[in-house]
Symmetry: C2
Subunit: 240 residues, 2 copies
DNA sequence: ATAATAGTGTCTGTAAGACATTATGCC
DNA sequence: GGCATAATGTCTTACAGACACTATTAT
């Protein structure tokens, strides 16, 4: 009991080590809808959840992966070609029961990217509804996705995260649109703009987006890839 | 490359599995000061960081631990005797370099408890200053502690977390004190009380705390062990 | 009465919500 | 001019900050 912290004076048996993986929840907005990237699991009988849809991810490779984050970045780049996404850790899930091959722990990241030109082998976008997704995913990936979604929606209330779903240059209406798609409710334009300017989030570029109507000013982030925090949430949640 | 998600059609070699541990950052308030629980690492030459101070934690035991959270609870109970703490995951840290014994990943939880009657073997409280701690801890535990501290301080701005540092019954002044100790700045009494009542956080009990002055109403949480979110932070942070 | 802490009231400031109004391009 | 969307303005509301004031016990 005193040696609880130690490895009982002998090396921990490798067989007694949990499996270690990284999963990435990659979000983008397509067609006014939040989407998550899924992959099909290999269809061999030796694999658990063969042929099912799953979050992109896999075991940590102790040779090639320096740390968890670079492992997540590698997987994301393989599936989307994106090299500098917004990436944030959601947390980790581990236990006896989540993988039939044995005690396993997975480290979950979520990422926001603009729609990429094309996807890697076997990757598809799945649109997300108000109540998440109905598709049954492999392992406990429905739980992981739900957690990432909850984190995203909660942070969207008071941060600039949705800007990372857009290309470098965008109009304020496009930015507002990203918020509305994720929160699934309309926002007041006036309040939205005041908040964005007060937070010193964007700088105008010398360009205009034209269309069948009044052209809009284009902006870009003042600090690309750094999330900005607003002083309040959009509509203060009732603390029931 | 297509088989990235699989284990390349053979079982992953156990030796290729990272070490998996759980560490717990246990906070309490003693003597108007935030404290963190540390343990001394065993002083054998076979152990890395022998004799140094570290966060309580250790390897996951695939036999006895059902999942990560119960592993964290077990370690917490061993050191403090507390069975129903506030417990929240901070995140996970993993990489080649953080443990000389090999690629390792740790899952970090933080916990808030009232001062326990006594501590387990080799456990001590270390007071935390405005800028964290100066003691050099084992492994990357200074980083983990810093992350937990940042999470705590940030959530204290807009949640009821500090209530979990107190016994079941407490006065509003005592609760405010917990906030002030963690944030290391005074709060307005009037605003504080309004906020607590508006959030419907507490209910009065039919008791009074007496002293050398006007007695104070005792309260208890309406929903023990559930954190409540306030609609705003205490003092809105400047967004830059 | 005095000290000490509990508890309330009033006024101000900040940022969001609601909604109306004006501006500017294309057809 | 008409339409569509961009951009701004005004008024209200919610809640925190500052600070003064009152209340209740022990000594």
């Amino acid at each position: 009991m005193k040696q609880e912290n130690s490895i009982q004076n002998k090396k921990i048996l490798p067989e007694a080590r949990p499996l270690t993986s990284v999963d990435v929840v990659i979000f983008t907005v397509l067609d006014d809808r939040l989407n998550v990237l899924l992959v099909i699991r290999p269809n061999t009988t030796e694999e658990p959840f063969a042929g099912m849809q799953a979050l992109p991810g896999g075991f940590v490779n102790v040779e090639s992966d320096a740390d968890l984050e670079s492992c997540a970045l590698r997987k994301l780049h393989q599936k989307t070609g994106v090299k500098t996404p917004y990436l944030e850790q959601v947390g980790s899930w581990g236990g006896k029961a989540r993988d039939p091959r044995g005690w396993s722990a997975t480290h979950v990241y979520f990422s926001l990217i603009p729609p990429p030109d094309r996807l890697g082998e076997g990757a598809v976008w799945l649109p997300i509804g108000e109540h998440g997704i109905k598709t049954r995913l492999a392992f406990d990936h429905n739980v992981l996705l739900e957690a990432a979604l909850q984190r995203l929606r909660s942070k969207v209330e008071y941060t600039s995260l949705p800007a990372f779903l857009l290309p470098d240059e965008f109009t304020l209406s496009e930015l507002q649109q990203m918020y509305e798609v994720i929160l699934e409710r309309p926002l007041e334009k006036s309040a939205f703009r005041t908040r964005v300017f007060a937070a010193d989030l964007v700088k105008p570029v010398n360009k205009i987006r034209t269309g069948n109507n009044r052209p809009a000013q284009l902006y870009r982030l003042k600090h690309p890839r750094k999330a900005v925090f607003f002083p309040r949430t959009f509509s203060p949640r009732k603390s029931d």
